[in-house]
């Protein structure tokens, strides 16, 4: 019995990690009907920002290991992740809705920089490459060649996968491919409840996760921005006609979703201190399953889905074989798609033709 309860605690702690990532998927899907595959990489980015902030001299010398430093690290990483989310939205997704002159120049610039780095292996060639790339981008744009067809759902999805791969491989170049170890920014103590052992970090992580979820619910349901988000989610064109600045609302959605992913990255890194540029891939897929399980587009559903998934996984490993760990998530996905495709909390809706 004790072992079982301990496993339940393990499952909840794993599940709250999935829930945090699932929230971002569900939010963006709710507003844009887009599965933002780059979301799991923003989660990775958040963990790395936390790592660099925690190892930053200024943070270390001013704050040391105090609750204040943990909060600074957490907020800092959330803001940086939100920034990345806005960038992704601005340069990768928005051009699909409305063509922008900067976009091609931006992407060709990155391509050029990469080619420059490959050819010359030095900073000078990198800059030269970026310059040439930007020039090519502008020329193509001026010539009136707009490669991204406007408003195609499939195009967006493919762009999302592209951004995700770009962040994963760019991360390996920038952060290095070998794993880093996240410092203990919150000291851990072992607490006893009878013969149950719970480590204080797990409780803090769970607590922060719950607070973030409650804040998100408040934002969506009780603020003007939230109201606008729901309007955009309901009907983008109608919202635009009602005078809502839809581009801004979408950017805010991305920012909030990415900030949550960044927070998730740090919270998970606290529990499991190993971080690397590919750390988002598997949890990202699992969180996606959790979002579908709870009913994609539904915030409470994402939380419930995450917890169910975490518990199911831990039970499978604890009482079965560790090799089934990843299989269990996808078995759940198949089952939910067969039995209740709208998810647990999802409202049955029919696609209007």
């Amino acid at each position: 019995m004790n072992t079982f309860l301990q496993q339940v605690i393990n499952g909840i702690s794993q599940g709250s990690a999935y829930a945090l990532i699932a929230l971002g998927y569900t939010m963006v899907y709710g507003v844009l009907r887009l599965i933002n595959f780059a979301h799991s990489d923003v989660y990775m980015f958040g963990a790395f920002m936390g790592y660099y902030l925690a190892n930053n001299r200024w943070v270390q010398s001013r704050l040391g290991t105090s609750p204040a430093s943990a909060i600074v690290i957490m907020l800092g990483a959330m803001i940086l992740s939100a920034g990345l989310g806005i960038l992704i939205e601005r340069f990768a997704y928005r051009p699909n809705r409305s063509a922008s002159p900067f976009t091609l120049a931006f992407w060709f610039g990155i391509l050029g920089a990469a080619a420059g780095q490959l050819i010359g292996q030095s900073f000078a060639t990198l800059v030269a490459g970026a310059g040439i790339g930007i020039l090519i981008g502008v020329v193509i744009e001026k010539a009136g060649l707009r490669p991204v067809k406007q408003d195609s759902r499939l195009g967006l999805l493919i762009i999302a996968i592209g951004v995700s791969l770009f962040l994963e491989n760019g991360g390996q170049q920038v952060f290095g491919a070998d794993p880093k170890f996240f410092p203990e920014i919150i000291p851990t103590t072992l607490m006893n409840f009878g013969s149950l052992k719970v480590d204080s970090q797990k409780l803090i992580v769970l607590g922060v996760a719950v607070v973030l979820m409650v804040l998100l619910n408040l934002l969506v349901h009780y603020t003007k921005t939230g109201k606008a988000m729901r309007a955009v989610s309901h009907n983008l064109d109608a919202a635009k006609l009602m005078g809502i600045n839809t581009d801004r609302i979408i950017a805010v959605t991305f920012a909030v979703g990415s900030a949550l992913a960044g927070a998730g990255g740090i919270l998970v890194a606290l529990l499991y201190p190993r971080i690397d540029p590919l750390m988002g891939v598997t949890p990202g897929l699992k969180a996606f399953v959790a979002a579908v399980l709870g009913g994609i587009g539904n915030i409470t559903g994402a939380m419930i889905g995450g917890l169910i998934l975490g518990l199911a996984e831990v039970m499978a490993v604890g009482y079965g074989e560790s090799t089934y760990r990843d299989a269990i998530a996808f078995i759940i996905l198949v089952l939910i798609l067969l039995l209740k495709p709208d998810g647990i909390m999802g409202k049955g809706s029919t696609e209007k033709v």
């Binding site: 072992t3 496993q7 393990n10 070998d178 970090q201 996984e313 039970m315 490993v317 560790s322």
Partner: protein
């Protein structure tokens, strides 16, 4: 419009391809240099394995080159990174053999990756010396594959002996990396020997390399009340497992094999590793002058204490050079025969003799993690 665009993109791709191709010019230095290939995990989960291995080889080859080289030529080492991935090990081994025309391969540390690269070396008839792959299957690939370390049947015996004789343990749990040939093999051998000596295996659980959460396995191990947990994995996971054991209030001693050996081990596991034991190839605390000289030189050059992989790679490189000297050629078949005849080579990791199965028979040491350092406990001979 789209037609124009397609042409433009194709043009750009063409230009890029030409630029990339012309940027890597072939090296024409085969006449004056002997090219030796090293492949290892310079990045990825087991990054210190490859880094230590490269450091050990480069140090040995620089010594040889400074002393005038071998066969009147200098040795040129080409290092390739396999990113801790088995398939990548095969790719880089193929590249080293077919493009760089190396006369011999040195690598890998991890058995899974040696097992992927060894068939390539065997098919091309290029001698390969693995510094630290302990899984039996590695040298069974063929007669061109050698190793300078002991093998897992011996290592498993050492830890079983140590657990029963020295620590007087009765109940031990196993936590193995199910995706890793080395870990699975070593766990099996340990169980076999430990049972023979009268011990009980109370739980046998597994994880997969790359996992970050081990709490489910550890909770179920905890319910079987083991005195010790044998974790024959690699240092990254071992460090994380150690931390999570403490967070679940498990007090069992942790034990493992040479996969623990890494300068990063203690950084990852921290205090949670205190009091754990693992078997290894040598101890830096050994007072013998040869070892102390190696440790001193290595520290001076890389600012790090050499782990077993660095020492073994250093030995492997020297044995390769020694064999070139004996064969008086770098012809693959003759070089192979010379390596096979290595007897009593005085290496840093002990006297190395290559037996008929192309393995080496050597004693193992047991080390304990104590206050953030590795301290020598005992030597167990075959």
């Amino acid at each position: 419009m789209t037609h124009k665009l397609r042409q433009l993109v194709l043009c750009l791709l063409g230009i890029a391809a030409v630029l990339v191709m012309t940027s890597c010019s072939p090296k024409a230095s085969e006449g004056t240099e002997i090219v030796v290939g090293v492949y290892g995990s310079l990045t990825g989960t087991d990054a210190t394995f490859g880094t230590s291995s490269r450091n050990g080889v480069e140090m040995a080859m620089d010594e040889v080159n400074k002393a005038g080289g071998v066969l009147g030529k200098q040795i040129h080492v080409i290092v390739e990174d396999d990113q801790s991935k088995p398939e990548e090990a095969q790719t880089v081994a193929t590249k080293l053999i077919s493009k760089d025309h190396v006369v011999a391969l040195l690598g890998e540390v991890a058995s899974s990756r040696s097992l992927f690269a060894a068939p390539v070396a065997q098919q091309n008839g290029i001698p390969m010396i693995s510094p630290a792959s302990t899984n039996v299957k590695v040298t069974q690939v063929g007669d061109y594959i050698f190793r300078v370390c002991f093998i897992d049947p011996f290592q498993g015996l050492v830890m079983a002996k140590f657990a029963t004789k020295t620590l007087k343990l009765k109940n031990v749990a196993i936590l193995r990396d199910i995706k890793n040939d080395y870990s699975v093999g070593l766990a099996d051998v340990f169980i076999e020997n430990f049972k023979k000596m009268g011990g009980n295996i109370v739980a046998d659980k597994s994880y997969s390399a790359g996992d970050i959460d081990f709490s489910a396995q550890l909770t179920s191990i905890k319910s079987s009340n083991p005195q010790a947990i044998f974790v024959p994995g690699y240092y990254t996971e071992v460090g994380l497992i150690a931390r999570q054991t403490k967070k679940l209030g498990i007090n069992a001693t942790l034990m493992g094999g040479d996969g623990w050996d890494s300068p990063s081990l203690i950084g990852i596991g921290g205090e949670a590793l205190n009091g754990s034991y693992f078997s290894n190839h040598y101890s830096v605390q050994d007072p013998s002058p040869a070892i102390q000289k190696f440790v001193g030189d290595y520290k001076a050059r890389f600012n790090e204490i050499p782990d077993g992989n660095a020492a073994l790679s250093y030995d492997a490189a020297h044995i390769l050079v020694e064999s070139m000297r004996k064969a008086n050629t770098t012809d693959a078949a003759k070089l192979r025969d010379a390596i096979a005849q290595t007897t009593d080579y005085p290496g840093v990791t002990g006297k190395i003799t290559i037996d008929k199965d192309r393995n080496s028979v050597k004693p193992a040491v047991v080390l304990q993690v104590k206050d953030g350092k590795l301290s020598y406990v005992e030597t167990i001979t075959p």
